[in-house]
């Protein structure tokens, strides 16, 4: 695999940096390291990276503030690393504009998958591939004809169900927080009514999934939101 993308790792723990650097460099990425939030912001401004990996537990500043600082001038994908006790920070960071997250400890496979999804999402947006057909296994969403099929059988969706599905397709592979989905589908007045989302997600699953209790496409990120599987 040969990637020329530049990644910035903002992480204060040397051992984690070492493991990330070794793994990512072997995958062909250009790796820049930053130990603190401030240093990370400086590097992000000067290096023009393709992706930033940000640890939420930095010694000098709040990880959420780092996300906000970067989002003030750039749409560069940000993948967050968080510990188990940082549930709320993680959601705040995602709501502030971070693209995805990984909970420590994580495996290399997971990390690389998230990086690929984030990078691809950027390229698809840039190349204007937004409209078209999304397909994973037997699920096919044809956004030009507003047609959803499972194993070739058309599934009838209500307008809201369809809109929910299209938002997920637009960000396929990325985790979407409850707040973001509620805002996109129902509007800003509905961001606190998470049960709407859960009920509609349940209906969608029953319409699209073979085993709704073990979804293949519409994955639950417990306590955070949902993600549409891309592979």
């Amino acid at each position: 695999m040969n990637n020329s993308a530049t990644l910035i790792i903002i992480e204060d723990e040397a051992q984690i940096r070492r493991f990330l650097r070794t793994t990512l460099a072997s995958e062909g990425y250009q790796v820049v390291e930053a130990e603190t939030g401030k240093q990370g912001l400086t590097e992000a401004a000067t290096r023009k990276p393709d992706l930033i990996i940000l640890d939420l537990g930095l010694p000098d500043m709040d990880g959420v503030d780092v996300v906000k600082g970067i989002r003030a001038w750039s749409h560069v994908p940000i993948v967050i690393l968080s510990a188990r006790s940082q549930e709320r920070d993680k959601i705040s960071a995602l709501d502030a504009g971070a693209d995805d997250y990984l909970v420590k400890p994580f495996g290399v496979g997971e990390l690389l998958a998230r990086i690929r999804v984030a990078l691809r999402h950027v390229s698809s947006t840039v190349s204007g591939e937004e409209e078209g057909v999304f397909a994973v296994d037997e699920l096919k969403v044809d956004m030009i004809h507003r047609k959803v099929t499972v194993s070739g059988t058309e599934v009838h969706l209500t307008p809201i169900e369809y809109r929910l599905l299209t938002v997920l397709v637009k960000h396929a592979g990325k985790v979407l927080t409850h707040r973001l989905l509620l805002k996109e589908v129902w509007g800003p007045n509905y961001v606190e009514r998470a049960h709407y989302l859960r009920i509609y997600m349940g209906i969608l699953r029953h319409k699209l999934e073979k085993d709704p209790a073990r979804p293949r496409f519409l994955l639950t990120e417990v306590g955070v939101g949902y993600r549409l599987a891309v592979i």
């Binding site: 188990r84 006790s85 549930e87 400890p105 495996g107 209500t158 307008p159 809201i160 809109r163 129902w186 509007g187 009514r193 998470a194 049960h195 709407y196 859960r198 009920i199 997600m201 349940g202 699953r205 029953h206 085993d211 709704p212 209790a213 073990r214 979804p215 994955l219 639950t220 990120e221 417990v222 306590g223």
Partner: protein
């Protein structure tokens, strides 16, 4: 010969006494027959010898009376400066107890043991100062004359004709370790007196002249010698008991002394005391309060209470009983207490009266066949009058009567007036009936009047009414009418019988009323005690006990009260909680502390600091002092009544017991907590040592192999090692997560983020997280479509599922299925995770939820035994419950129930902007 063996109880008592003596200071008394025999001189001589032996000797208080030979002996001894107490125009020199306690010498000299301290001192009497010195472990030398000994006091007064009121209880003398008799033949003493070597106070000069007559001196000398001989005899007996010389072990004697209302009661008590001393017997002084005795005047009742107090001071147990048949009460009580002898006073009635009405002595002698009876002769009575000393006038104050009895002295003139009026009314009624009924029935009207008067106004008025009835009946109705003359002599019999019946009725009515009153009193006492005991038994917590105690004590004793408790360092402190209306304020903590330290009463009406208004009572429980009850009685005299004292003691011991119970409970609880903490710590240590170190060992081993021999290993081996490291690290991560969850749940740091969720989604989340480990276990999810939403924290409930699933995987063989199902019950959603494994061992259904508990602690399932505990904490935080059982078809089932409530409404889609 088993009889030869000493009684073990007696021996134990002996040892305990010896131990307490070892802790106490030693008391040596220089004992003399009269002033001038050289007690102070002897005492100083002995003290100089001790000092020469190197002992730390201080003269606490020595009265030299300016005698040069005595003063010379004092030279070179350290003398404690006296405490100067202003008294009227002069200053009194008093022994300084606090200075002595502070100086704390090995031996202290304190002269004149019988001295009465100046008003305002800590103790009224010097012997009480000495007691405190001894308690503090200081040895004391002191001196006393025979006339100052309580039990000999009356004898001495009879011999010399001079009353003495500075007395020392015999118990003090008996507790002395040594008594040295300072003896001087009367002739030599008189010679010394002539030479002016004996100190005589100016004002007592004449009395002293009377006192120092040769006859007196001989008698006093005999008393002193006999007293000392008694003591030596007792020591001898002690010695023999110690060494089991005596072949027959004496049965312990018990004397029962019955006192009455007469002036001889005091003499009787003293005589009984001497008898009890001789017999080495316990003695009980009994006063039976019959209806007749209840009608005694205030002075007479005072005298009885004083006698009872004296008996207590002499070491007797005093008992007051109510009843109307004196002899029977005495005998039944004697039998119940197993008394071997009864001591009685000589009957006061004589001749025909005694023959007609009988006497107590005769009745008891006749009825109590198994008990020895001692009858004590009547003695001169002048003592009772002579005893109006300051000390006793004070005693009188606090031996006064209960208020209702003082007030119930019915204004008698009114009562008699009513008696006359009632009889007049009877006459009027009889007048109206005269024409219609027989004369005999008119008598009944009069008798009715007598009954009414007797029941309302007591004995005297009813007797008057009886007499008047006879007179009026005679005058108005018996022919010839309107004259006292009687035509038919038969009427004389009528009059006699009428009078007799009237008198009997009146006395019986009054007796019944008194009985009822006594019973009522006793009933109230018992009821109040019962009420408090019951409330105390039902309560928890020290504050409640204090509140209940104060309430009841205040009610029963008509006082304000407060319970003072010690802090951790044993210092008595004021209560922290706010008082009630019944709380006693202004109690003196230093007195309370003294009471707490010494376990004795103090304050109003006691021997220690009697000046104040508050009484301080120790709260003594079996394991030691619990606190102090301070009482501010409205009527101090009432509290001093012996029966009230006893009731108060019962109350205090009940309160102390309740306090002790609370403390023991608290101790037991803290011990339990400590034990549990200990167990927890051990479990945690073993969890960390075993469950963290095992994967660590694997990781260290595998990674070190990769680092060292990475190049030499083939690809397969490297993958194998890498996989090992990965698996073990994940396992450790799981354990760390559980420990972290547990710690957060325990610390209460978890705030539930409850949201309305479909259960399906949470199950899905949990299954997704466990996919890798569930490969060998097919999981069936049976959730119906119409399950209601539940308001839960999805992250936490996911942990519950994850732990239950992991548990099922851990304890069932590969390939066996696991099933998740849910059903709605009454107000709750019951979720079940069941497996087809071996099931839960019997009796473990509860314990598996305990922290660090593992069904098979030696097994290799790994994990710290926290999973189910975490599940329980989470489910309970949601207001639900969790339990486990075995399925009848085999395998274990874990159930948890989550409460259901009304889910929020959701708008129909048409209404939503699209």
């Amino acid at each position: 010969m088993t009889d030869q063996r000493p009684d073990p109880d007696a021996l134990l008592e002996k040892v305990q006494r010896a131990e307490s003596i070892r802790r106490r200071g030693r008391l040596k008394i220089f004992f003399g027959a009269s002033a001038g025999v050289g007690k102070t001189f002897g005492m100083l001589l002995a003290a100089r010898e001790r000092r020469a032996e190197g002992l730390d000797v201080v003269a606490g208080y020595v009265e030299t009376h300016k005698r040069t030979e005595t003063e010379q002996l004092l030279e070179g001894l350290e003398v404690l400066p006296p405490r100067l107490v202003p008294y009227r125009d002069t200053q009194l020199r008093e022994f300084d107890l606090d200075a002595a306690l502070k100086r704390h010498p090995a031996l202290i000299l304190v002269d004149e043991l019988a001295h009465t301290n100046a008003p305002g001192s800590r103790h009224p009497k010097r012997w009480q100062d000495v007691e405190e010195l001894l308690d503090a472990g200081i040895d004391v030398y002191t001196a006393i004359n025979v006339q100052h000994i309580e039990s000999l006091n009356d004898v001495v007064s009879q011999i010399t004709g001079i009353p003495v009121w500075e007395t020392v209880p015999d118990a003090v003398l008996e507790s002395a370790n040594e008594i040295e008799l300072i003896d001087l033949p009367p002739d030599e003493l008189l010679q010394r007196l002539k030479e002016g070597k004996v100190y005589l106070p100016q004002q007592a000069e004449r009395a002293a002249q009377n006192f120092f007559r040769k006859g007196n001196l001989i008698a006093l000398r005999e008393l002193a010698l006999r007293r000392t001989a008694d003591r030596v005899d007792a020591q001898m007996r002690d010695y023999r008991e110690d060494h089991a010389i005596q072949s027959v072990w004496q049965v312990k004697e018990r004397l029962l002394v019955c006192i009455g209302s007469g002036g001889t009661a005091e003499n009787l008590v003293r005589a009984a005391y001497r008898l009890a001393q001789l017999l080495k017997a316990e003695w009980i002084v009994l006063y039976v309060e019959t209806a007749k005795l209840q009608r005694l005047s205030k002075e007479q009742r005072d005298a009885i209470l004083r006698t009872l107090k004296l008996a207590e001071e002499l070491g007797a147990e005093t008992v007051t009983l109510g009843g109307h048949k004196l002899a029977e009460e005495v005998i039944s009580y004697a039998l119940s207490r197993n008394a071997s002898r009864i001591v009685l006073g000589k009957p006061t009635l004589s001749g025909w009266k005694r023959w007609l009405f009988g006497s107590l002595v005769d009745t008891i002698v006749r009825k109590a066949s198994d008990i020895d009876i001692h009858v004590v002769g009547k003695e001169s009575n002048f003592l009772s009058q002579a005893r109006e000393s300051p000390y006793f006038s004070r005693s009188r104050l606090y031996l006064g009567l209960a208020p209702e009895e003082q007030n119930s002295l019915f204004t008698w003139s009114t009562a008699y007036l009513w008696a006359i009026v009632a009889t007049a009314i009877c006459t009027a009624i009889a007048w109206l009936m005269f024409d219609h009924v027989d004369l005999a029935n008119l008598i009944m009207v009069y008798l009715l009047g007598v009954v009414v008067v007797a029941s309302r106004y007591g004995h005297g008025p009813s007797v008057l009414s009886s007499l008047l009835s006879v007179v009026l009946f005679d005058f108005f109705f018996v022919p010839p009418r309107f004259s006292f003359a009687v035509s038919d002599t038969q009427y004389l019999i009528t009059f006699a019988v009428m009078l007799l019946v009237g008198l009997v009725i009146s006395s019986m009515t009054i007796r019944i009323q008194h009985q009822a009153k006594i019973a009522g009193h006793r009933e109230r006492r018992t009821a109040s005690l019962y009420a408090m005991s019951r409330e105390l038994a039902a309560t928890r917590g020290e504050d409640n006990i204090l509140r209940i105690a104060v309430k009841h004590v205040a009610e029963v004793f008509e006082a304000q009260a407060v319970v003072l408790l010690p802090d951790e360092t044993g210092r008595i402190a004021y209560p922290k909680s706010e008082g009630t209306a019944q709380s006693c304020h202004g109690s003196d903590l230093s007195i309370a502390q003294w009471v707490y330290d010494h376990g004795q009463m103090a304050g109003q009406g006691t021997d220690t600091l009697p000046g104040g208004e508050i009484v301080y009572l120790p709260l003594k429980a079996s394991s030691g002092m619990r606190g102090v009850l301070a009482l501010l009685p409205l009527n101090p005299a009432r509290i001093a009544l012996p029966e009230q004292q006893r009731l108060l003691e019962t109350f205090t011991s009940q309160i102390a017991l309740a306090l002790e119970r609370v403390r023991l409970a608290a101790e037991a609880q803290s011990a339990q907590i400590k034990m549990e903490t200990e167990q927890l710590r051990n479990a945690l240590l073993s969890a960390i040592s075993h469950d963290l170190r095992t994967p660590l060992a694997a990781i260290v081993g595998a990674s070190s192999s990769l680092v060292r021999d990475g190049d030499r290993l083939d690809r397969h081996a490297r993958n194998e090692l890498g996989q090992t490291i990965y698996d073990e690290a994940i396992r450790m991560s799981g354990l760390a997560n559980n420990l972290l969850d547990m710690a957060r749940l325990e610390a209460g740091a978890v705030v539930l983020n409850r949201q309305w969720q479909p259960l399906e989604e949470v199950v899905g989340g949990a299954l997704a997280g466990l996919t890798a480990r569930m490969v060998n276990h097919p999981v069936t999810v049976k959730l119906s479509h119409d399950l209601p939403l539940v308001e839960i924290d999805s992250l936490l409930i996911e942990r519950v599922f994850a732990n239950l699933l992991e548990n099922a995987v851990k304890y069932t063989p590969p390939g066996t299925p696991i099933e998740i199902s849910a059903a709605t019950g009454q107000d709750e959603l019951v979720v079940t995770v069941s497996d087809k494994g071996a099931g839960i061992p019997a009796g473990e259904e509860q314990r598996i939820f305990e922290k660090f508990h593992r069904v098979d602690s030696e097994g290799n399932q790994g994990g710290a035994g926290l999973g189910l505990t975490i599940c329980q904490s989470i489910v309970e935080a949601h207001g639900g419950r969790i339990w486990a059982d075995n399925l009848s078809s085999g395998g274990a089932a874990f159930h948890f129930a989550l409460p259901l409530s009304e889910p929020p409404l959701i708008e129909q889609e048409e209404a939503v902007p699209s």
